[in-house]
Structure formats: structure tokens, C-alpha cells
């Protein structure tokens, strides 16, 4: 369900930019925030607010990896696996997460608690290895720290 307030924010964005179409990306973020991922209704709301066709909106949305086409876990774990994190042992962290959460990268736990992803360089190479939980950074991650973190997330859920 996309709230009237969210639709209004999308329309405001469309008039904030020199060309309404430029507001499609921030409007997609709003739609995603409302429902956790992009539903048909979300795409429809963006299309109406911006003045684009639904297909056109969808073609933009599917280009960018941060717009989700499927429901996501309550905790979204993104582990950087690019070169600097690789050199600092990120693969071990991914293995550890796979084991503890019982899912592979790209999957969501059946209870909807966790989604695990490996992602490209997160601009945190000086504090590698790093991961993000719901877009917030956790840096200089060690295996012990990760175990404690998973326990903490479990308690929060």
C-alpha cells in the first residue's frame, strides 16, 4: 500500500527537478520504503507521480541493484567481496554467514529475517573487511565480532 503522503512526496520531487523524469530514482526509493520492495502498485504510483509509463519506470528500476523486485529480509546483510576486502579475508565472513544463517548469497531465510548478499566495493577499503546491515556500515569485521553481531541481530528480531 502506497500512502497518499508518499505519493505527495513523489509529486513534490517531480517538481523539484528541472525535468520531472529526473525524480524517478528518488521516487522509487520512496515506493520501496513503503513496501520493502517494488510492487506493481509501487511502480504504478511512481509512474503516475512522474508522468511516465509503468514499463518505463520498471526499465529504470531493474537497471539498479538497490531496487528490489522481491520481498527482503528484515535484516539485509551486504558483504563486500571486492579486491581490498578479499585481501583481508572477506570470503571467510561470507562462509560464516552462510553457515549461521543457513542461506547462500542472494537468498532470504524462510522466516523472512535475513537476506544475505555479496556486493561490490563499498568504499570502505581502509577498514576492510566490511559489511552493511540495512545500509549502515560495520567495519573491520573479524569472525568473533561477526558471531557476536549475529547473536545481537537475532535478539533484535
Amino acid at each position: 500500500m502506497i500512502s497518499e503522503q508518499a505519493k505527495q512526496r513523489m509529486r513534490d520531487l517531480a517538481s523539484r527537478y528541472p525535468v520531472a523524469r529526473s525524480a524517478v530514482m528518488p521516487a522509487l526509493y520512496i515506493a520501496q520504503q513503503e513496501e520493502g520492495y517494488l510492487t506493481q502498485e509501487g511502480l504504478q504510483a511512481v509512474a503516475e507521480a512522474i508522468g511516465m509509463t509503468v514499463n518505463d519506470v520498471e526499465s529504470v528500476a531493474t537497471f539498479y541493484t538497490m531496487y528490489y523486485q522481491q520481498p527482503q529480509g528484515r535484516k539485509q546483510i551486504k558483504v563486500c567481496n571486492s579486491i581490498s576486502c578479499y585481501l583481508r579475508g572477506c570470503d571467510k565472513l561470507v562462509e560464516q554467514l552462510e553457515q549461521r544463517l543457513g542461506i547462500k548469497p542472494g537468498e532470504t531465510t524462510p522466516d523472512g529475517n535475513y537476506t544475505l548478499r555479496t556486493v561490490e566495493c563499498l568504499a570502505s577499503c581502509g577498514t576492510a573487511p566490511v559489511l552493511q546491515v540495512n545500509d549502515e556500515f560495520v567495519e573491520n569485521v573479524t569472525p568473533d565480532m561477526l558471531d557476536a553481531l549475529i547473536d545481537k541481530w537475532d535478539r533484535e528480531l
Binding site: A23, M66, V119, C121, A123, C125, D135
Partner: protein
């Protein structure tokens, strides 16, 4: 410790607020520019300072500004904060810790270039940086540094923070404009260059976050002061992002021309290789730049020095690789990145990066063939220079340079069906094909 320019006071408490930034001389440069300089004089000042782009290409900033088409169309500025080059993490720090410095730089550039709408394109994954930049913009509007008739000068400017959503390609300037226009981030054919026909068809200046963050200091202290740092052709300082197998990774601002050895081994900076292992290779400017061997340690970190050594200064991301690392596996990891991030528009890059990873994968896992090494080079040759944007070219850098430096290691993989490097802790897959 050499003088810091762009990271000066970076850890001062409250620097990220308007009040804190003002206490450290914030917005004095803007006031000075609006009172004492005509826009064209500001362009001349930046030309004289010798400042070159800090995003990757190193193009002289003032000269770039002077190329803007002279017509009556609305001019735009895109500040490129889509930091995604593997090994680079300076712009994130500048946005998170000193967002007002960036905003002041954006206003200065907009004034110099007669821009009326400026965009700060922040990488989607950097949510906190985006919030910091957004708050700084709002504070600057409230203080009258952005908006109509800024500080009584008659200059009007609108600044919009725009978040990306996960696409490395949008760091490429023409893809960034496509993304800002609300499309898929496919690069445009050049020419026309953005200075002639850019965002919404208007003359557009595109500068990196660190480049613009440097402007307030240049305006405050003068072009000669800035040009007194660095070398004759590479003026000023640069934030080098040191990462990988080094004892003290981090961002270090140093004058251009500082030797690689100082950055990596000096106790004040990198402090040497992790576990005191021998150095194997250095990537000097982000993963898109060719790697160098330990014999290049005395190369000065400036545009000319690194170019003469056979690589590029790029984004300033210095990645250190020790003898502990299998070079084929490391190159596979870097190539995976380009395969995943290729936008798919141009066939050589889309198909080429796919096949490069397939071949590297079989080499790494003991299934390689003798001819695979030359096949890799052949594919690289078929990608390089054959696509709209430099992403494909970038993908070839780690491969071509590593085969040049470590061909024996590739051959060892083919012959012995395993890595030369004993340690296998980072490998997910067994080293011997058929093992387990």
C-alpha cells in the same frame, strides 16, 4: 607531517555542522569569491593553481571549466560522488566528515562556471554520506549560501542531492547524466562532450567530490600557495586511499610526488606489509589501473611518475598485495567486479568480461589450458578501446599487467593445476580440480 589541505581538521568535533565548519574558516572562501572575483577570474585562479581532477582522469580542472560552451542555455554542475572504484574510499570520508567543505566547493564552482543548478550525485550504498550532504545543503540554504541572491551578490543557485542506486557505471560521467535524467545508466557516445551538450542538453561541468572539496582552500589561500605543494606538473596534495595487505590501511593526504615507498612503508602511513611479508604487487590508482611490481616502489605518486612506470594515478586507491596472495585469484576477483558492473550496452565489454572471468576461473581452479593465457590477452585486445566508455578498458588492466609481471604464476596454474601460493585461506573452492 606535511601540510594537510583537503583533510585539514577532518577529525575536529562538530566539523560536519555549519557552526563547526564556520569555526574552521568555513564559507570564508565563498564570501571572498563573491566579493573579490568575477566568475572568469575564479576560473583563472583555479587554472593557475594547477588543480587536476581527483576522480581518475586527472584533467586540469580550470581548463575543463573554460571549455563550457558559450551559449544561452542553462548550465549545470554534476558533482560526482558516486565513489565505487575498488580500492577508493576518500570521497565517502569527505562527505561524511566534512560535507560543508564539499557544498562550499560546489557553490564556488557553480559561481565560476555560471551554473544555476548543481547536482551532488551520491552513491546509493553510502546512505550516511547522503544524509550528511543533504543536511549540509539544507543548512547552507537556511544560512543564505545557496538560493537566490547569495550573500547579496545577485548570484542564484539551486543544489540538489541525488542518490544513485547501485551501479558502478554511473561514476562514468555520461552514464551519470543519463541516471540523473531518470534513465538506465548507459554511457553516451562522445563527442559531444558534456561541456558542450550535457545534462538536459545544457553545457555541463562534471567534477569529482575531492576536486570540489579542494576549492575552498585554494580560494582562501591563493593559487600560488596551492601550487607550492606537489611537483611541477602535478600540483597540490591528494588523498591516497591505502588498502589491502598493509599494516595501517587508511586515507593519507600527501603532496603529489611522494614516493610509493613512503606511503606504504613509513611508520606514519602504511607502516609496512602485513605480517612483514614481501611485497608482491601494487595497484596504484584503483583496480582499473595496471598493477606494478615491487621494483617500482620508488616511483613518485604523481600523474607523470606513475604513467612513466606503466600505470595510472587514477582515483588514488593504492591497493597493496603481498606474497601471500595468489595473483590469478586476485585478478579473478577484480574481473568478477567488471563482469558484474558492465552495463551491457557494448558487446565487447559485456561478452568480453564474461569470458575473461570464465577463463580465469578455470585457470585458478586447475582446469586451465596452455593457450588460455594468450586467449585472455586476445580477449583484452578485443575489448580495449572498442566500447563507448572506459569500463571495458579498465577490466583489461589487471589481466594484462598481471600476465606481464607474473606470467610464470599463470603458467604454474596450467602446469601444476594449483596455486604457487601455499596459503589457501581465502579460497572458497578446492585448489585442485577434482579434489574433495
Amino acid at each position: 607531517m606535511p601540510e594537510l589541505i583537503v583533510t585539514k581538521d577532518i577529525d575536529a568535533p562538530g566539523l560536519d555542522t555549519l557552526e563547526g565548519y564556520r569555526q574552521h574558516g568555513g564559507y570564508e572562501a565563498l564570501e571572498k569569491a563573491l566579493k573579490e572575483y568575477q566568475p572568469d577570474e575564479l576560473v583563472e585562479l583555479v587554472k593557475k593553481s594547477g588543480l587536476r581532477g581527483r576522480g581518475g582522469a586527472g584533467f586540469p580542472t580550470g581548463m575543463k571549466w573554460s571549455f563550457l560552451a558559450k551559449n544561452d542555455k542553462t548550465r549545470y554542475l554534476c558533482c560526482n560522488c558516486d565513489e565505487s572504484e575498488p580500492g577508493t574510499f576518500k570521497d565517502r570520508m569527505l562527505m561524511e566528515k566534512n560535507p560543508h567543505q564539499l557544498v562550499e566547493g560546489v557553490i564556488l564552482c557553480s559561481y565560476a562556471c555560471r551554473v544555476s543548478v548543481a547536482f551532488i550525485y551520491v552513491r546509493g550504498e553510502l546512505a550516511y554520506a547522503a544524509r550528511q550532504v543533504q543536511r549540509a545543503i539544507e543548512e547552507a540554504y537556511a544560512a543564505g549560501y545557496i538560493g537566490k541572491n547569495i550573500m547579496g551578490s545577485g548570484f542564484d543557485l539551486d543544489v540538489i542531492m541525488h542518490r544513485g542506486a547501485g551501479a558502478y557505471i554511473c561514476g562514468e560521467e555520461s552514464a551519470l547524466m543519463e541516471s540523473l535524467e531518470g534513465r538506465r545508466g548507459y554511457p553516451r557516445l562522445k563527442p559531444p562532450f558534456p561541456a558542450a551538450i550535457g545534462l538536459y542538453g545544457g553545457p555541463t561541468v562534471i567534477n569529482n567530490c575531492e576536486t570540489l572539496s579542494t576549492l575552498p582552500a585554494i580560494v582562501r589561500n591563493g593559487a600560488d600557495w596551492y601550487a607550492s605543494f606537489g611537483t611541477e606538473k602535478s600540483k597540490g596534495t591528494r588523498v591516497f586511499c591505502l588498502s589491502g595487505q598493509v599494516k595501517k590501511p587508511g586515507n593519507y593526504e600527501l603532496p603529489l610526488g611522494t614516493p610509493l615507498r613512503t606511503l606504504i612503508y613509513d611508520e606514519q602511513y602504511g607502516g609496512g606489509i602485513l605480517d612483514d611479508k614481501p611485497l608482491k604487487a601494487i595497484i596504484p590508482g584503483g583496480s582499473s589501473t595496471p598493477m606494478l611490481g615491487p621494483d617500482k616502489l620508488d616511483t613518485p605518486l604523481d600523474f607523470e611518475g606513475i604513467a612513466a612506470a606503466g600505470s595510472m594515478l587514477g582515483s588514488g586507491g593504492v591497493v597493496v598485495i603481498s606474497e601471500d596472495t595468489c595473483i590469478v585469484d586476485a585478478v579473478l576477483r577484480m574481473t568478477d567486479f567488471y563482469r558484474d558492473e558492465s552495463c551491457g550496452k557494448c558487446t565487447p565489454c559485456r561478452e568480453g568480461t564474461f569470458w575473461l572471468t570464465e577463463i580465469l576461473h578455470r585457470l585458478e581452479h586447475g582446469e586451465g589450458r596452455e593457450k588460455d593465457i594468450d586467449l585472455l590477452l586476445d580477449i583484452c585486445d578485443n575489448i580495449s578501446g572498442k566500447s563507448f566508455c572506459p569500463l571495458g578498458d579498465a577490466a583489461t588492466s589487471p589481466i594484462v599487467s598481471s600476465i606481464k609481471l607474473f606470467r610464470d604464476e599463470y603458467e604454474y596454474h596450467v602446469r601444476e593445476k594449483r596455486c604457487m601460493v601455499e596459503r589457501a585461506s581465502t579460497h572458497k573452492v578446492p585448489l585442485h580440480a577434482g579434489e574433495v
